[in-house]
């Protein structure tokens, strides 16, 4: 377990200014400056050069400890956990306890309008609808929870899509190097400056799927294809710098095969920034999905996401503000927490990637 990772003992005492020459912070001049992608505009690709490998197991354990020490990150983790759990189990529980489903439209005419939270049809206090109902009398809490399912699912799966594309693209470009790398990165540069979202909008508006399911799949692909660019850049940067570090040279010198080098040495070392970026991509993707739903190109009824719920709520904001507020606040809270969690992960896993 330990023999695959060379231990590099540093002689600096932690916390005290080191007298060893500091790694140069000169920018990567051979690339056109890399404008950081907004979601992690704060992550500086060039500082990823200076990862030091310590004993394998303690890196993750150290990171975990560091993460737990960060109160905001813990708060984020807890909230995200709660929301996820609620979204997964919520609709089912509500159905079992009250018989209400997210799309249950009451049959009584008098209930076919929007009620404020905690109110029943005659205006008295009731526990039935803690978040109120929407225009057609559907319970808002159930809808918000189900919306959570969809939003989170879109966020996670799209991020996975972009991860797969980005990591492979970046790793190949980085490891192969040379002209191939050059060309691949030029492509990324050009794609970067394109109005990706605009084309995605055109794509979605043209290929409106008939089924809500189909639309979801389209969304996964479309959203995933928007964020892979920066992931590719990061992974490539990592691989480039790791490629020439001593432990790789040593591994090669002792006869370790190329495949093993990539999978047991290089990839694990890229995991840090990849995890961080993935965690920070999820809120961005969710925002994008919400924005697409707002425009009408996102999730289609009967499925709902927080974005589409908020959009519906905007219509009646003056009279039934809770229709916008509950989905909006839930979404904001989740994104808030995800961002804190991502920040905390970044501090824990790769402090040098941190720019604040």
């Amino acid at each position: 377990m330990n023999e695959d990772k060379l231990t590099v003992d540093t002689q600096t005492t932690r916390g005290v200014p080191s007298t060893l020459p500091s790694p140069t912070n000169a920018p990567d001049v051979d690339a056109i400056h890399t404008p950081p992608e907004v979601a992690i505009a704060e992550a500086d690709v060039r500082t990823a050069e200076t990862l030091e490998t310590v004993r394998a197991s303690s890196l993750w354990r150290d990171a975990w400890r560091c993460l737990l020490r960060n109160k905001l990150a813990v708060f984020g983790m807890v909230v995200v956990g709660v929301v996820t759990l609620a979204s997964l189990l919520g609709p089912y529980t509500i159905k079992r306890t009250t018989g209400l489903t997210p799309d249950y439209i009451p049959t009584e005419v008098s209930l076919l309008k929007s009620f404020p939270p905690f109110t029943s049809s005659d205006g008295s206090f009731s526990w039935t609808h803690p978040m109120g109902t929407d225009n057609q009398g559907r319970d808002l809490l159930a809808r918000v929870l189900q919306g959570g399912q969809i939003s989170l699912m879109v966020g996670i799966i799209s991020t996975l899509v972009s991860l797969v594309i980005g990591v492979s693209y970046g790793a190949i470009a980085g490891y192969v190097g040379g002209r191939t790398d050059n060309i691949m990165m030029r492509v990324v540069d050009v794609l970067y400056s394109l109005p990706y979202i605009i084309i995605v909008i055109v794509l979605l508006s043209m290929f409106r799927s008939q089924t809500a399911r189909g639309q979801l799949i389209l969304l996964f692909v479309a959203l995933g294809s928007v964020s892979w660019l920066t992931m590719a850049r990061i992974v490539r940067g990592q691989v480039l710098s790791l490629k020439n570090q001593e432990f790789v040279l040593a591994a090669r010198a002792t006869g370790v095969s190329t495949g093993r080098i990539i999978f047991r040495h290089l990839i694990p070392n890229t995991l840090g920034p990849v995890i961080v970026y993935a965690t920070l991509t999820i809120p961005t993707v969710m925002l994008t999905e919400a924005f697409l739903s707002f425009l009408g190109f996102g999730v289609q009824p009967p499925l709902a996401s927080w974005g589409s719920l908020a959009t519906d709520g905007i219509q009646n904001i003056a009279i039934f503000p809770w229709q916008l507020i509950f989905p909006g606040v839930t979404m904001a809270l989740t994104l808030f927490s995800l961002n804190f969690l991502g920040d905390g992960l970044r501090d824990a896993l790769d402090p040098q990637m941190r720019t604040f």
Partner: protein, 307 residues
């Protein structure tokens, strides 16, 4: 440097053409047509329409005609939905609206963001720091189409301080809410970036040298730290433009502004091919040019960069 600029400009042209082609292809490949409504049209009427708009000809001819008129005359044709209006005219009319909102929003974000971020970095871990970063985090987490209506609810429908929507020309008080809504997220990002950049610079060796020279803290910050610390903000401008764009779309929809974004969405919903292509091409050119400008600015500001 000059070679770099020329090289970039040269790449721009084929890139735009590729973008246009892809957009055109997407529109054509999609099922359905722009004239398809709820009811199927009688064949004769359909034939008329196809003849009128020239879509009865083979696809490569149509593609050729479209591209030719674009390349030769920069003529993107006539809108399919807005009778008789040329795409160029529509763009010319709606551009100032979007530009006004967008530029004002970004300027506001720059001013407020860099100021807040710098102070936060200088007073690291103070209450001001925590408060402003928390606010910034909020700014990133609240979608702009949630923030917009809430602002409208508070300032227009409850306090009656500002008009809720509509375009009132430039400058007018109608601009305030859209600009605020649009700039919020960028303010937040810029504040965070500035704080990050400043913190990193303040930790660097050359700042230590500046202090060792006996300079006052103010001189150290203003003369030495600020320049390097604000670099991330310049880098941010590139991707920010793309986000500004999508933000403009949302803001124009919410506040019913007759801007480029609104027309774009309408065109997409209407399958108004010439208009879609026109706007997409325009946006692409603008983005590419602005990114080039940002790169040039970056090289100008950072003497270490040489193209």
């Amino acid at each position: 440097m000059l070679r770099f600029i020329i090289r970039r400009l040269l790449i721009t042209i084929p890139t735009i053409l590729v973008v246009i082609t892809i957009t055109w292809a997407l529109i054509r490949l999609a099922p359905g047509n722009f004239y398809t409504g709820e009811k199927p049209l009688p064949a004769a009427i359909e034939q008329n329409i196809r003849e009128k708009y020239g879509i009865d000809k083979p696809w490569y001819q149509q593609y050729g005609r479209t591209m030719w008129s674009i390349v030769r005359h920069l003529d993107f044709g006539t809108s399919l939905k807005y009778e008789g209006q040329s795409v160029n005219a529509i763009i010319a009319r709606s551009l100032p609206v979007s530009a006004a909102v967008g530029i004002l929003a970004y300027l506001l974000a720059l001013v407020v963001g860099t100021f807040v971020g710098s102070i936060a970095a200088l007073k690291q871990n103070s209450r001001w720091d925590y408060a402003s970063m928390a606010l910034a985090m909020l700014g990133i987490s609240v979608p702009n189409f949630v923030l917009g209506p809430i602002l409208v609810l508070v300032f227009a429908l409850t306090l009656y301080w500002l008009p809720p929507s509509r375009w009132g020309g430039f400058p007018s008080v109608n601009l305030i809410l859209p600009v605020l809504t649009l700039s919020a997220i960028h303010m937040a990002y810029i504040a965070r970036l500035t704080r990050a950049g400043m913190l990193e610079v303040l930790r660097s060796d050359y700042i230590r040298t500046a202090r060792a020279k006996g300079l006052s803290e103010k001189a150290v910050v203003v003369r030495h730290a600020l320049r390097g610390g604000l670099m991330p903000v310049v880098s941010y401008t590139g991707p920010a433009l793309a986000f500004l764009l999508t933000g403009t779309v949302v803001v124009e929809r919410i506040f019913a502004l007759p801007g480029l974004g609104n027309y774009f969405i309408q065109a997409s919903l209407n399958r108004d091919e010439p208009l879609i292509i026109g706007i997409v091409a325009f946006i692409a050119i603008t983005l590419l040019l602005m990114n080039l400008l940002v790169d040039i600015a970056y090289a100008y500001l950072d003497p270490r960069i040489r193209y």
